[in-house]
């Protein structure tokens, strides 16, 4: 028996009927066709599914869609504005922090959460904040440098 939920995603409100066992990640990707958020491991270990829920980074592969009822969700699609890349996205490109790009949406979302909370993180703080993200390509160095390069600006 489906439940009706309201998701506020990237500023838009959606009323959806979802199965009780529906997972937020699947609803974002399949029902809302926001495929920027990726399914890596499906069990909260890799960080590819990271989205912001009421401003906090969470693993959307472990969240029942119904649990997000009434909450604000920000996905990678919500960062660029009027065709302009978000400063975090730009920094990732400028620093060579993107190779295959699979981990990138999750990393950028976490970077946003970190910089919103702490506009001047140290490299150690950045590393600790992204411990829940696996990257198979870059070796993480460029990702950390990209985020570090943003630290003098209070990006929102």
């Amino acid at each position: 028996m489906k439940n009706r939920i309201t998701l506020h995603v990237n500023g838009d409100s959606h009323e959806l009927w979802v199965e009780p066992h529906a997972i937020l990640l699947d609803v974002l990707r399949n029902d809302l066709e926001l495929t920027g958020t990726k399914k890596g491991c499906g069990m909260g270990e890799c960080g590819a599914c990271t989205v912001l829920l009421d401003g906090k980074p969470i693993s959307s592969c472990l969240l029942l869609a119904a649990e997000a009822d009434g909450k604000e969700v920000i996905t990678i699609e919500g960062l660029a504005h009027n065709g302009q890349l978000h400063p975090i996205q730009k920094a990732f490109i400028d620093h060579g922090a993107v190779q295959c790009g699979f981990c990138t949406p999750g990393m950028v979302i976490s970077a946003k959460a970190l910089l919103d909370e702490n506009p001047r993180p140290t490299k150690e703080e950045i590393k600790n904040f992204i411990l829940g993200h696996l990257c198979r390509c870059t070796g993480y160095v460029k990702i950390i440098e990209a985020i570090y390069s943003l630290r003098t600006d209070a990006v929102r």
């Binding site: 909260g44 960080g47 829940g132």
Partner: protein, 285 residues
């Protein structure tokens, strides 16, 4: 994953009513970081009913009361505990332990109640809470009761919770002046559960240590205290040689098993090392 009924109680009483009426076929949902993994993997029999605590008031609080000490609601997230000014200032071992669990994303979802009630032998919040003499406040059909956290776990994944009973909050008595505590966790990578862990607490008074607690995680079917090790150093002056004796005692008291993460002998050896390190850390005055 098989479907279930998703239930959203709005009051404490509703939770109890549902759990009592549907004992055995309902699962409480906190952060979902254990339950969802188990359901997705098919490791657990699908419940008929998943009961979320998200709407129930009063379960998320982290506050201190003069009488009781620190009170942490079952639905307080690990990240909230990690970042709480109150906990960092007054019970820092708990922030430290919380911050060692998984990732920021997981900690934003995972709850203290979930970590405790999932009752993994390696639950990271258990050893430090046991060292601080924490109690669990339970709500059931016969009302409330307080259980010492040390007595809460009965086996891997098993607790003293009766049918229809659930955990509302954890209470930590105020830490005495001069009391120090630490938690050390051995893990292969940041996302792993502990291979072995040790929590320790003691009060240093005039060169002697009092009210010593040493609790081990991932070293037996439940988190438990190394009471012989504690007795060896209680009331004494903590010399390096005495620390070694306590570590060796903990080695002997360890009840670890061999599993995919480590052999029994490795765990036992690591418990000795972690006990030594924890006591040396606390002995530094």
């Amino acid at each position: 994953m098989k479907t279930f009924e998703y239930v959203r109680p709005q009051t404490l009483r509703e939770v109890s009513r549902i759990l009592i009426e549907h004992a055995g076929t309902s699962k409480l949902l906190g952060g979902g970081t254990d339950l969802l993994v188990a359901l997705l993997n098919g490791n657990q029999e699908s419940p008929s009913r998943v009961v979320t605590l998200r709407d129930v008031p009063g379960l998320k609080s982290i506050h201190e009361t003069k009488g009781q000490g620190l009170v942490v609601g079952a639905m307080a997230t690990l990240r909230e505990i990690e970042r709480s000014e109150l906990v960092n200032e007054r019970y820092p071992v708990l922030s430290k332990a919380a911050g060692m669990i998984a990732s920021v994303q997981i900690r934003n979802m995972a709850t203290l109640g979930g970590n405790i009630c999932n009752a993994s032998p390696s639950a990271d919040m258990a050893p430090p809470l046991i060292c601080l003499d924490a109690k669990a406040r339970l709500m059931g059909s016969e009302g409330e009761r307080l259980v010492s956290l040390e007595d809460f776990f009965t086996g891997p994944g098993q607790t003293v919770l009766r049918p229809g009973e659930w955990l509302m909050e954890i209470i930590v008595p105020p830490m005495a002046k001069g009391r120090k505590a630490t938690y050390l966790k051995l893990e292969r990578s940041s996302m792993d559960i502990a291979i072995a862990s040790v929590g320790a607490a003691l009060t240093g008074t005039r060169g002697r240590v009092e009210d010593v607690r040493i609790a081990m995680g991932a070293a037996g079917p439940v988190p438990f205290r190394a009471k012989a090790a504690e007795a060896l150093i209680e009331g004494k002056s903590l010399t390096p040689s005495l620390v070694e004796d306590a570590a060796v005692s903990a080695f002997g008291e360890c009840r670890a098993i061999t599993d995919l993460r480590a052999s029994e002998s490795f765990r036992r050896e690591m418990i000795k090392v972690l006990t030594r390190r924890a006591l040396l850390e606390l002995a530094k005055e």
